[in-house]
């Protein structure tokens, strides 16, 4: 039986048979076991289809009996080869493309660091680069676990490093060590961390140097760690020439003081603000070996004001460096706001409070609060100074530098 699909696989040739009484050839082919189908008589001969395997035999019969045989059409898989050869460039391109894609995908092109807080990102990237993970690094040149281990050894601050490679992007995930706070064990003074007026002194160890009501500035010794032996009150008369050496202690205590903070805020009655509207257009250029190739052109739609920023990225490859320039234009809008005096005052006050809290730090108790208007009523700007008073502990331990000659 003839099967259309199998015939397609084997290859079909459509021929035109010309000559007197072509039935003879058909009968001969039939008797020789050549499979012929789709026979149709036309004006200039007889069209029929034959398998590739039977074509040669049919040709022989035609030659033998002086019939002319002409190939009209070739179908099926074996003839696809011809198609392949004709489009060799295309197929070669496809193969090169896939190979290039595969080749390029076996490099690291982007590096990202996450999880770092105190350790500088560039330091982590530099350390990774030293062990072979850098943009443009071939993937087969390093082992992930080895780089992780080496990075942990180099960067003491890190407790954990994980390099996650997804495609061409390597993400370095780090976890930093949390060090215990340094405890001063040697002798020390208690000094003022801020300036203020002492309100309360509680000495646990050492000698108090200040008392209530005394104004201190930053760095002043509040409780001294140098303790002089007290004179015996009962031995007043006896003047001992022998001066005893002072002893050094680790001073402990609490010094509460009134501390003032000042904050300043202002607000114009009429403000012009420049806002970014969100519309933007960008231009991307690629520079390879001194040549610039524009990848994307900017479509600037008549922005009245705009801000442009340029980013530059360099990718180092084994074949040279590639630079990518990206310029981005953002549209800006002018916004005019007019406040009346009351509104301006409250805004200025808010700003002043904000700056004040920034200096002061949160969770401190405000004892007293004062507001001062700095601007005159005719000014177009409202200036407010806010000062608050708090009571806080200003004690800070500072070790005493003991010099070799003992002091």
């Amino acid at each position: 039986m003839s099967n259309r699909f199998l015939n397609q696989l084997a290859g079909i040739i459509k021929v035109n048979l010309r000559g007197e009484r072509p039935e003879k050839i058909i009968n001969l082919a039939l008797s020789r076991g050549i499979h012929i189908w789709d026979i149709k008589k036309t004006d200039d001969g007889m069209h029929m289809k034959v398998k590739i395997s039977g074509f040669e035999a049919l040709e022989n019969i035609c030659e033998e009996y002086n019939y002319s045989l002409e190939v009209i059409k070739q179908e099926g898989v074996p003839f696809l080869k011809g198609l392949f050869v004709r489009r060799l460039g295309f197929w070669a391109g496809a193969v090169i493309f896939i190979a290039a894609l595969y080749f390029m995908a076996s490099f690291i092109w982007f590096i990202d660091v996450s999880g770092n807080q105190k350790v500088d990102k560039s330091r982590i990237i530099m350390t990774a680069a030293r062990y072979g993970v850098y943009p443009g690094a071939p993937r087969w040149t390093f082992s992930r676990s080895e780089v992780e281990g080496a990075m942990l050894r180099d960067l003491n601050e890190l407790a954990y490093v994980k390099i996650d490679i997804k495609g061409v992007k390597a993400t370095i995930e780090v976890v930093e060590k949390i060090f215990p706070r340094e405890e001063i064990s040697g002798p020390c003074h208690i000094v003022a961390a801020k300036e203020g007026v002492v309100e309360e002194v509680l000495v646990l160890a050492g000698e108090a140097q200040v008392e209530k009501g005394k104004a201190v500035s930053k760095g002043d010794i509040l409780i001294s760690g140098v303790v002089y032996p007290q004179k015996n009150p009962f031995m007043e008369g006896v003047e001992e020439e022998l001066e005893e050496k002072p002893s050094l202690v680790r001073a402990r205590g609490q010094v509460k003081a009134r501390v003032w903070y000042q904050g300043y805020g202002e607000c114009r009655l009429r403000t012009e603000k420049i806002l970014i509207s969100g519309k933007k257009s960008s231009e991307i250029k690629l520079e390879i070996g001194g040549k610039t190739i524009p990848l994307k052109k900017a479509k600037i739609k008549n922005y009245d004001y705009s801000i442009s920023e340029m980013k530059q990225k360099e990718i180092k490859t084994p074949l040279g460096s590639v630079r990518v320039y990206k310029t981005c234009w953002r549209e800006q809008l002018k916004k005019i706001t007019v406040y009346n005096e009351e509104e301006a005052l409250s805004i200025a006050q808010e700003k002043a409070m904000k700056s004040l809290l920034k200096k002061m730090g949160k969770d401190k108790k405000i004892v007293n609060q004062k507001k001062r208007l700095l601007s005159s009523p005719s000014d177009s700007i409202i200036r407010v100074q806010l000062s608050v008073e708090t009571i806080e502990d200003i004690a800070r331990a500072e070790p005493i530098n003991v010099s070799p000659n003992g002091n």
Binding site: S2, P22, E23, I26, N27, L30, S31, G33, H35, I36, W37, D38, I39, K40, K41, M46
Partner: protein, 92 residues
């Protein structure tokens, strides 16, 4: 002699109730609608034109008249014909 053997074969086939196309090489024709015709046990093509097709049989020949006749399949024992068939005639 040949004639006698044929008759004997025919009698045997009838007696044993065997189909003639298997035992006696008789042609078997299947016609589907007016456009398709299958023929088994043929002996080759005598004449083929678009409006007339003559096929050799073991005894005599078959003449098919029609329009746009086309031989769809052709195998040593079997053939399939398509086209608009007007008449099928047995000739000696």
């Amino acid at each position: 002699m040949e004639r006698r053997r044929e008759l004997l074969n025919k009698a045997m086939a009838e007696f044993l109730e065997l189909p003639g196309d298997l035992v006696l090489d008789l042609p078997k024709i299947t016609v589907v609608g007016r456009n398709e015709l299958y023929l088994e046990n043929h002996r080759g093509i005598i004449e083929y034109a678009l409006n007339r097709l003559r096929i050799n049989l073991s005894r005599g020949f078959l003449e098919i008249e029609g329009e746009e006749l086309q031989i769809k399949t052709l195998m040593p024992e079997e053939m399939g014909i398509s086209g608009e068939i007007h008449s099928i005639r047995f000739l000696d």
